[in-house]
Symmetry: C2
Subunit: 536 residues, 2 copies
């Protein structure tokens, strides 16, 4: 067989050749913007040409700091197709973390939404590798920005032409993208994606056994494009010729539902928090939604959510699982054909699991000593292997903790039943998952314990009706010391994104501990599991 | 990303792990045999163990000479998963060709259907590389066969155990299979398939944009497993957990229809001749057939066949195109979403084309001097490139004629319309090259055969002193019919440009044919090479 490499270029050029008439609909601050794949392709090549003029070479990192819109989609292809590396930066990180990852990735150029400039401006002096800022809007006065040198995206595109030719000789194992993921302790960790990995991951999204993305679909990636490649949907949707709807800055449930109904969206993907919000809106203002699949991932969706979508609104609701390190699609929860005959409650219980491993990957369940049987009862850490699983963190010593003997240790503890369905039961570490985002409990604890009045502090995630989980802080004060909640929260506020801050601080006489002196967080979680249900 | 190789082992082990309860139904000479994937997997590993005991090493060729049944399916996985090479031998070749390809491939072991032994026995002395024959039946007296040493497949499996472990360190580019394809002149040419190529080809068959094979399907490969891997269906169907129905020796249309209805077949694939036969049977004995897709390839299906299946029997009928050198899936004819709104005749005309290139491949249309525009009119030879396209013939000097500058020259001449749909026009060698322009012999033949007095017609190009080549028509009339040349030429005149019309019509008693029933145009060209030189 020909040893032709598996490159992002192939996805892009296939879409250009076969689907020039398909549509991309992008919500911007100026309203809905619509264009065809032909125009998208033209602008994508212009962007590559413009980046090349700014000095971007194959292998260089180009960061994006943007919502889900058409310009971000252009960057998704323009950067990797020219051989550079698409580094999507999570706009919700704390300023210090953003500075860390831009420097650590060595981003040479940053593409920034005009509306997000205020987040970068305060840290501009720290961004030592950045040679140029490209502002993703045509109406903003770029000379007014303290981020310099700054260029207007639209002006750059207008100044180049669309005949930029992509290299055909890239190595399929070369990096095409990067994304940083929060760590339990310390700085975020960078995951590097290869052309080969994303190519195969895109194919997996087109399989009838999984998402079955096709030319018949209209795809709405609600999950941000700064999160694990928006689950790879932009790559697969373009390759397979779907119409694409991009929801733009800070979409509300009402905006999302309007887009779904008005644009005929057949496939949308987001975290449980988003689907909870959409459900609430849908309950309040019922309408016919054309979705053939509502895909939910990022954290576990309660069976009640699945049931509400399917029974009350006739929308098939499907669970998937993955992480930044897995590109991210790892499991996908569809019933097997012979399970369709089971009673409804059993079917729902199966579908509320994380599902079956996606074809192309390998999985083990391991308890630290040995492989655990797949009996639906015994727990183990999920280990994953395959061509779209990361093999390490970018220039990071923590690689050795997570990538062991060729397997990714996910840090997620699960059971697997005899049919192969994965059910997550706990996190090996105690990350708090808030609205699909991870919050490091240890970082918060360390910050709290830096206060002179604090003896010790533990942070755990407890259930929250809107955000899935929110952090609660438990604090023991030093003898004779006093401090109030607000002062403590103010003390740590500058160090974290606002949404990282604990919803409440509870003062205790002591924090329960295990025999080896570790915080018994499990016990705190149990005891306070209804705390934010009653005091949201 | 992890650089885990793409191996057949992954398909097999995935199916074993996730689909042990799914079914394989195999028609044998003793009736229908049914078992589960779990049993299939067990026997497949036993077969690998048995072959290893017979001395088969990674890289060795193992030939199969068999119909589509469960033992052949076991061989499809047992041989490549152990690192050996599955060489499927076309049972319909002439004895000398069979001997040639067994020797040329250097098959070490042959697996032979008991019912096909009479085809091999006469050439046994020529099969110099073969060290052992394995007879695929449990009821035959193997000691009676002149093919020696002979082993009973079932006895071998009973003597081994099912814990054979497949190597994990194979190179994904290593050969996993071979198939020989007939050549215009000389011996058949061998195509070698790699693990990587078949892995990716299998993924392509699972895409919702193409066949969308999934766990919900029951797949019936009518196309023989000795023909381009039964179009790759056995690999993809097992990977994705479909139930599989194997039609066994020489199935008739009535047998195929019984299998479809009784086993709930949702997806079946075969050549037009087979589908014509099934249609005739279905017209005579109408019944409800559960097919969601009847896939047709190998040669062009007339629009009337598509229409008959869909309108009279409610069976979606889909065209695909490929060849032994392309694994074979290269194009697949499904309408784009926005074409669904076109009038029925236009939809049918699009669907009667060979369709769109499958994601993962690249295509050009080339006239020998330059790339030809995709306007639906201008003709060119189809060139293909991609990870499941062969890069040469096994130890064969003819490689250089077909594989040029990294592209497979298919020898098929086509037009491509502005939407990218490929319509085959002719074989390159059969095109008439007149004054630098191309004339399709197939189009002229179809037009002539539409005349009520014509039984069959062949058109070939013969040398011409002024125009290089001009078309000559050879016509066989139906018994008792008469028609003169001018009437025939007038009959087709309105359908073509004037310069397309044959220079002469020659009436024959019969048109010479090859062993598989195709017109032997080469012989006509030889015989009439001076016809227009002397009678210009």
């Amino acid at each position: 067989m020909m040893n032709t490499p598996l490159l992002l270029r192939h996805l892009f050029e296939y879409a250009q050749t076969y689907y020039p008439k398909k549509h991309i609909i992008s919500r911007t601050r100026d309203g809905l913007f619509r264009y065809t794949y032909a125009e998208f392709g033209d602008r994508t090549r212009r962007l590559s040409a413009a980046l090349a003029q700014l000095g971007v070479q194959p292998g260089d990192k180009v960061g994006t700091f943007a919502w889900n819109d058409h310009r971000h989609l252009e960057a998704y292809f323009a950067i990797p197709c020219m051989g550079a590396v698409l580094h999507t930066i999570n706009i919700r990180l704390a300023p210090d973390q953003i500075a860390y990852i831009v420097n650590h990735a060595e981003d040479k150029v940053l593409l920034v939404d005009a509306g997000l400039l205020p987040l970068l401006e305060p840290i501009r002096d720290q961004l030592s590798s950045v040679r140029a800022y490209v502002i993703l809007e045509d109406t903003v006065d770029i000379s007014a920005s303290p981020l310099q040198p700054a260029y207007s995206y639209e002006a750059l595109l207008a100044d180049t032409n669309h005949d930029f030719v992509y290299p055909t000789d890239l190595d399929e194992n070369a990096p095409m993208g990067m994304c940083y993921t929060s760590a339990t302790t310390g700085n975020p960790k960078g995951v590097t994606y290869s052309h080969r990995g994303i190519y195969l991951h895109s194919m997996a999204l087109g399989l009838a056994n999984t998402a079955g993305l096709s030319e018949n679909d209209t795809v709405l990636p609600i999950v941000p494009m700064f999160h694990a490649n928006a689950w790879g949907l932009p790559f697969a949707a373009v390759w397979f010729g779907a119409d694409i709807v991009l929801p733009g800055p800070a979409p509300t449930p009402a905006i999302l539902l309007d887009l779904m109904t008005e644009e005929g969206v057949t496939f949308a993907a987001g975290v449980p928090t988003v689907w909870l919000g959409v459900l609430k809106e849908l309950d309040a203002h019922p309408r016919k939604v054309p979705l053939r699949m509502a895909l939910c991932g990022g954290s576990s969706a309660p069976p009640a959510l699945i049931r509400a979508y399917e029974e009350q609104h006739g929308i098939p609701f499907v669970h998937a699982y993955g992480m930044t390190e897995t590109s991210p699609l790892a499991t996908f929860s569809r019933l097997k054909s012979y399970q369709q005959a089971q009673p409804e409650d059993e079917r729902l219980a199966i579908r509320a699991t994380q599902g079956l491993l996606v074809p192309g990957l390998e999985m083990r369940l391991h308890n630290g000593r040995e492989d655990v049987p797949w009996d639906g009862q015994q727990m183990g850490e999920l280990l994953l292997r395959g061509p779209w699983i990361a093999d390490g963190y970018h220039n990071d010593e923590r690689t050795k903790d997570t990538f062991v003997y060729g397997w990714l240790h996910t840090g997620d503890v699960a059971t697997v039943d005899s049919e192969g369905f994965v059910r997550l039961v706990d996190r090996a570490k105690d990350l708090v998952k808030s609205g699909g985002e991870w919050i490091s409990s240890v970082d918060l604890e360390n910050a709290l314990m830096a206060h002179p009045a604090v003896f010790e502090a533990a942070v755990v995630g407890v259930p929250h009706p809107k955000w899935d989980e929110r952090p609660l802080a438990f604090v023991v004060l030093k003898e004779g010391q006093t401090v109030d909640k607000q002062d403590l929260l103010s003390f740590i506020a500058g160090k974290f994104a606002k949404w990282w801050l604990p919803d409440d601080v509870i003062f205790l006489q002591e924090i329960p501990k295990t025999s080896v002196g570790k915080f018994m967080k499990r016990s705190l979680r149990e005891q306070y599991r209804d705390y934010l249900q009653v005091n949201p």
